[in-house]
């Protein structure tokens, strides 16, 4: 069990294992696979996030792609909603919600995001699974790395890199399908007639998936992730983190199976090193909380299995808090400390912003009208003592049905629209219209007067907009 101790093996083998990769001298990790409760949770989230990610572009809704951030049209389709650039407010709210959710979960239970749901973790998990299936377990992988190049090694390596490339390309393709309609992309696949930029982004995202999940792995978390650097500000002594129970484990050491460790003056840690072997970032959790720990709980799963084999109680490494370890709290006291000013504050802000978002979405009027005064002709006297002002209206129909809208004006006596007062706007489209408004000269004072333009959908009286503008009389 000593083969994968954290210290580099001495001698020339050790030198060969140290590769000058990408960022800093790095000892290549041969992560041992792990099974257990938390590994199952992680796999459940891998499945969930990836079914959503790979699956969403294939869903249709209202005869179009259900989720599409259509860049060319500058419209975001999300199921029943169509968002326009004017709705950037909702995007800002969504970002605030994501940030506070991250703060909240981090304060309660540490790096849950990193350990279970972050794409870096998820794709690394997938890529490591492929590696394990093709090259074998961690010992076989290390042997293969050290073996001289041979036909067998070449075949195994090509199979692994090939499988990774397929997953990476598929991921890049899916990513682009969120921004460029999938139907068009599929057509491009059939004819291999990709636009140069679509192809560029598929390869770009694909190669970064390959590089991050296949080659760089824990280095992304250790050296590139900003969150890893500032997560500690959200931690406090009541935050659940993965903890080694030092009081119970030390002094660590080997012993015969079946003897009471206290009789040989030892703690429960048998120093098998499996917690280090399974760690995707290659740290030793027994040295305490470290910023490299992504909170994946692989060491908990691994240690629990060892404890079972030794017939010791589980949980030598477990989710616990700094206070709980110091004061030997049980799960009841830990849960009692989940509610504290920090979490209550994060939770309250999170709940408030979520409610705000829901109210905003529910009261969002899917019709928007911009009124711009025509600047070339301010005010003009026409026949019958009427004054004419010209407006340019941008009517944005944000619904997915073509609609006809009626215009009417109010606010000045005898105000009326000259000419067409009706416009048809296609589904999720914008139409510009020029509106000529006539008002009797005696209805207002010289200069600016208030005028209101009402726009109403013909088939849905609830869909209307009341826009205020000014009407100019000559001085």
């Amino acid at each position: 069990m000593k083969d994968a101790s954290p210290k580099p093996a001495p001698g020339k083998d050790g030198a060969a294992e140290r590769e000058e990769v990408l960022y800093s001298p790095r000892k290549k990790l041969y992560v041992r696979a792990v099974t257990g409760v938390f590994a199952r949770w992680r796999w459940a989230l891998v499945w969930l996030t990836q079914i959503v990610f790979y699956g969403l572009p294939w869903l249709t809704w209202n005869n179009r792609q259900a989720v599409l951030f259509h860049l060319t049209e500058r419209k975001f389709y999300i199921f029943g909603w169509v968002f326009w650039p004017q709705d950037v407010f909702f995007l800002a709210i969504l970002l605030i919600i994501s940030a506070y959710a991250l703060f909240f979960f981090t304060a309660v239970a540490g790096r849950l995001w990193c350990g279970y749901a972050c794409p870096q973790t998820v794709y690394t998990e997938i890529f490591m699974w492929i590696e394990q299936k093709i090259e074998g377990d961690h010992n076989k992988r290390q042997k293969l790395d050290q073996a001289p190049m041979s036909g067998r090694k070449l075949a195994i390596r090509s199979a692994k890199y090939g499988a990774w490339a397929v997953v990476a390309l598929w991921t890049g393709f899916t990513f682009v399908a969120y921004f460029s309609p999938l139907s068009e992309l599929l057509h491009s696949v059939a004819t291999f007639g990709f636009g140069p930029w679509e192809l560029f982004w598929i390869l770009f995202y694909g190669s970064f998936t390959y590089l991050f999940a296949g080659v760089m792995r824990e280095q992304v978390c250790k050296y590139m992730c900003p969150y890893a650097r500032f997560q500690s500000v959200m931690f406090d002594p009541d935050t659940l983190v993965i903890t080694y129970d030092e009081a119970r484990g030390e002094p660590r050491g080997t012993r015969k199976k079946g003897i009471d460790p206290r009789t040989v003056n030892k703690g429960d840690c048998i120093d098998c090193g499996i917690c280090v072997q399974v760690c995707p970032t290659g740290i030793d959790i027994r040295e305490g909380l470290q910023y490299e720990c992504i909170g994946c709980a692989a060491c908990i799963d691994a240690c629990d299995q060892v404890m079972d084999k030794m017939s010791y109680p589980r949980g030598l490494i477990r989710y616990s808090t700094e206070n709980a370890i110091k004061q030997h709290w049980g799960s009841k006291e830990i849960l009692g400390h989940v509610m504290r000013p920090r979490t209550l504050l994060y939770g309250a802000v999170l709940a408030l912003v979520c409610v705000g978002l829901l109210i905003g979405l529910a009261s969002r009027e899917p019709l928007r009208v911009d009124v711009i005064r025509d600047r070339t002709s301010l005010a003009r006297e026409v026949e019958d003592g009427m004054i004419e002002n010209v407006y340019r209206l941008q009517v944005m129909n944000m619904t997915e049905a073509p609609r006809a809208f009626d215009f009417s004006v109010s606010g000045l006596d005898g105000a009326k629209i000259d000419g067409e007062s009706r416009i048809k706007v296609g589904a999720a489209a914008t139409e510009a219209v020029t509106l000529r408004v006539l008002v009797p000269a005696e209805s207002g004072k010289p200069g600016a007067n208030e005028l209101a333009i009402d726009v109403k959908a013909e088939d849905d009286p609830a869909l209307k907009v009341h826009e205020k503008t000014t009407f100019l009389f000559p001085r």
Binding site: V21, L22, L71, R74, W197, P226
Partner: protein, 78 residues
């Protein structure tokens, strides 16, 4: 290699942010290039915009790490 990542990675993140904010506010069809309306496709404009932002941010990062060299390094005898 470490320096390359320090230059390219933070600039990538900030360029993504800048791209999002810039093109939310500005329609690529409204842009002018040397007095002529931009005639590239929208996807091309977005892509060139992103790469442009990335280059600018990377130039800034590069200057930062260049100026960050301690005096000891600059004063090294030739």
């Amino acid at each position: 290699m470490r320096k390359w990542i320090l230059v390219l990675w933070p600039s990538f993140l900030i360029a993504a942010l800048a791209e999002g904010v810039f093109f939310t506010v500005i329609d690529p069809q409204e842009l002018y290039l040397f007095g002529q309306p931009v005639h590239y496709s929208a996807v091309a404009t977005y892509s060139i915009g992103f790469i442009g932002f990335w280059l600018v941010c990377a130039a800034s990062s590069l200057t930062t790490i260049f100026l960050e060299r301690p005096a000891r390094e600059v004063n090294q005898p030739r």
